[in-house]
């Protein structure tokens, strides 16, 4: 058992929520449902409306239209201070004139809880975030990571039924960021509060989330579990934003892809055959490179060391493909190599995924993810509880 009280996470439903700034719809008719105790991530580039959406859920902004329901109650007219939500901000949100303990107890003092209870709770929470003994420090005497831990304790002190995380790790350095987000994920599972994270960091989204919502220009681009979104991106935008993807033009043949210059590249996994010349996407980890004694259709243009692996860029005619290879690069710059592909993704001209069939028949086209992924998700949530 953890030392923090378990919190009953709320169900959150957004219905056609729209927010207009000037003439631009920052959030455009977004609808989604977040299950109790779920960890949902709003992922998107800056300007995609993810923070605006989060601030509307927290009550800092009102939508121009649409409804926000927490456990079935419309909270659009409920002021921030009365909502059962708590937000962890990007930075600079600890009150600099209050000690760590007073920062954490602020909300409890406002609620006029007994002194003993407050003191106990502050002790517990600071213990949970690993900052026992820091009670009387001022925020200016803490490191960035410690400050965010205090902010987390402060948010949890309110026993929020929905916890809102507004890029809370982005101001920290890499090591601290990974450490703190792992901690947050573990704590969230223990406490059980519904959690919504806003981030532009795909790694963070993939690691933490039960489900990810990819936003683009204020609209939902795709919703799904991390693996589902990664494996079956619905648009080229999603494919490029989560992980990376190279795009080729060419036609499909029985064994693979024929590029515009006539070179044929073998594709191992079965794929649907589409007439015409679709956009062909391939992830770098699905590109298999082999040295063929100096001959081969592709040329190595660039090699980037990434530590435990290498990213190489290959070209063939006008086509460019990125590939991940291990420590051993099969050749050097300007070497000719052979290329095969494990798996490809097909998109229309406008970037929408075409009939994705990687051999798994249960994935229906145009109707969102099929039964299997749906039930898988339910399973994930069951096991967590």
């Amino acid at each position: 058992m953890s030392t923090v009280n378990e919190i009953r996470g709320s169900e959150l439903v957004l219905e056609e929520v729209t927010k207009i700034f000037g003439t631009v719809a920052a959030v455009d008719q977004v609808s989604l449902r977040v299950a109790p105790s779920e960890f949902l991530t709003l992922l998107g580039p800056s300007g995609s409306g993810k923070t605006t959406l989060l601030r509307m859920i927290g009550g800092f902004l009102s939508p121009n239209s649409g409804r926000i329901l927490i456990d079935g109650d419309d909270v659009v007219d409920m002021p921030v201070e009365r909502r059962p939500t708590a937000m962890l901000f990007q930075q600079l949100s600890l009150w600099p004139h209050l000690t760590v303990a007073r920062n954490v107890s602020f909300g409890l003092e406002l609620r006029r809880r007994p002194k003993e209870e407050i003191a106990q709770k502050v002790r517990d929470l600071l213990g949970v975030v690993g900052l026992s003994g820091f009670e009387d420090r001022l925020p200016s005497q803490l490191s960035g990571g410690q400050q965010q831990r205090v902010a987390l304790a402060r948010a949890l002190a309110l026993e929020p039924r929905i916890l809102l995380l507004d890029e809370p790790f982005s101001a920290l350095d890499t090591k601290l960021r990974i450490e703190l987000r792992t901690f947050v994920r573990k704590l969230q599972r223990e406490v059980g509060t519904t959690t919504i994270l806003v981030t532009h960091d795909q790694e963070e989204a993939l690691e933490l989330s039960d489900r990810i919502v990819v936003l683009r220009d204020g609209r939902v681009e795709q919703i799904g579990e991390p693996t589902e979104i990664y494996d079956l991106p619905k648009t080229g935008f999603v494919a490029e934003f989560l992980g990376s993807m190279s795009f080729l033009t060419g036609s499909l043949t029985a064994r693979g892809v024929r590029l515009e210059n006539g070179v044929e590249v073998e594709v191992q996994e079965p794929f649907d055959h589409v007439a015409g010349t679709p956009q062909i996407g391939v992830r770098p980890e699905d590109v298999l490179v082999s040295a063929n004694e100096g001959s081969g259709a592709f040329v190595i243009d660039r090699i980037t060391r990434k530590g435990y692996f290498n990213e190489i860029w290959l070209s063939c005619g006008g086509a460019t493909v990125g590939a991940y290879v291990g420590r051993e690069v099969p050749g050097s710059i300007h070497s000719r190599v052979d290329v095969r592909m494990r798996k490809i993704h097909l998109f229309t001209e406008s970037g929408d995924a075409i009939d994705l069939d990687n051999g798994n028949a249960s994935v229906a086209v145009g109707g969102g993810p099929g039964e299997q992924s749906e039930s898988e998700r339910a399973e994930v949530q069951e096991t967590r509880r």
Binding site: S31, L32, R33, S62, G72, D77, R219, I223, G366, G368
Partner: protein, 330 residues
């Protein structure tokens, strides 16, 4: 298409929310009210923001209008109390009379007073600007304990009442004062007397204006980024070049404010020239009070008041032009 199915799926997932939920395309009245009240208006607090405005109107704006009427020869209404005591008044009909104005400006001594006042505020403004900029930039580019102390000393006059300052400097720079005595001891009699002269007024005005200028410049200098200064030094610029070419242009706004603030302060000062200044030419501030209290000529005093306003308007124009060309640069 895919987006719609996405949303649809997400909503049906909740179970309770079917697609037959009516969604208003046009914001409801409640929503529209919300849209209006959003944007941070601050309700009550914003109403209270107008409280100082009431005081400023009653004791600033309206009096200035009344004073204008008085100058033009309208002695009725709230002006009657003053006008009854006044002497040498020139009444006006219709829009009014410019009699008082021409009367004043035709007098040779008044012309002298105006010129003297302009000289004093221009020199003081420039001197204060140079001193404040030197002190603060020096400490920023080459910090030392001596310069830090110097800056502190420059602020000390803020805490000495202006009357005391004027009196002290009057005896210090005066006949048989400190400087006069020191000079005499060196066999150099009557060389360092400034009291009763315009030079003394300028020295004393610099003395009382310096603190605020230093505080303002210091605040501005503290915002200068290290990187821009370091980069200039990397490029081989000496401290003097950095100060003149890199730092000062970034402090344009502060420099303008320091000059204009000082100039207006000097223009509207009474105590310093009253105690230290010569009796001829008179600074306009002293002239105004004299004319009002000693000669009982409120109408003529109003003319002096508006002369001062007009000069302040000139300074304001300098500020406006200076801060506008900044925008062009950006």
């Amino acid at each position: 298409m895919s987006k719609q199915s996405d949303d649809g799926r997400a909503v049906t997932e909740g179970g309770s929310l079917a697609s037959d939920q009516p969604v208003a395309k046009r914001p409801s009245r409640r929503v529209r009210r919300r849209m209006r009240t959003e944007g941070k208006r601050g309700g009550l607090a914003s109403t209270l923001a107008f409280l100082p405005l009431i005081f400023l109107a009653v004791f600033g704006g309206i009096p200035i209008v009344l004073s204008l009427l008085l100058m033009l020869g309208h002695f009725g209404g709230p002006n009657s109390a003053v006008a009854q005591l006044g002497q040498g008044e020139i009444p006006g009909r219709g829009i009014g009379t410019l009699g008082a104005i021409t009367q004043m400006f035709e007098s040779h001594s008044y012309q002298q007073n105006v010129i003297a006042t302009v000289i004093v505020f221009v020199i003081t403004g420039i001197a204060v600007l140079i001193i404040a900029a030197t002190l603060t930039l020096w400490q920023r580019l080459r910090p030392s304990r001596a310069m830090a102390t110097l800056q502190f000393l420059a602020v000390v006059p803020l805490f000495i009442p202006v009357v005391i300052a004027s009196f002290t400097l009057w005896t210090f720079w005066g006949d048989r004062g400190f400087t006069d005595s020191s000079a005499a001891l060196l066999g150099w009699s009557h060389a360092l007397i400034f009291s009763g002269k315009l030079q003394g007024v300028i020295l004393a005005e610099v003395w009382v204006s310096l603190p605020f200028a230093v505080l303002l410049m210091r605040a501005g200098v503290s915002t200068l980024g290290d990187s821009s200064l370091d980069a200039a030094r990397d490029a081989g610029a000496g401290l003097f070049t950095v100060a003149l070419r890199i730092a000062l242009p970034q402090l344009r706004k502060e420099c303008l404010i320091v000059f204009c603030f000082t100039a207006v302060g000097v223009l509207g000062s009474f105590t310093v020239p009253y105690i230290i200044g010569p009796s001829n030419p008179l600074m306009l501030g002293v002239d105004a009070v004299d004319t009002f209290s000693n000669y009982n000529q409120p109408q003529q005093a109003a003319v002096i008041g508006f002369t001062i306003f007009a000069l302040a308007g000139l300074i304001g124009a300098i500020y406006a032009i200076g801060s506008r060309s900044r925008h062009v640069n950006h």
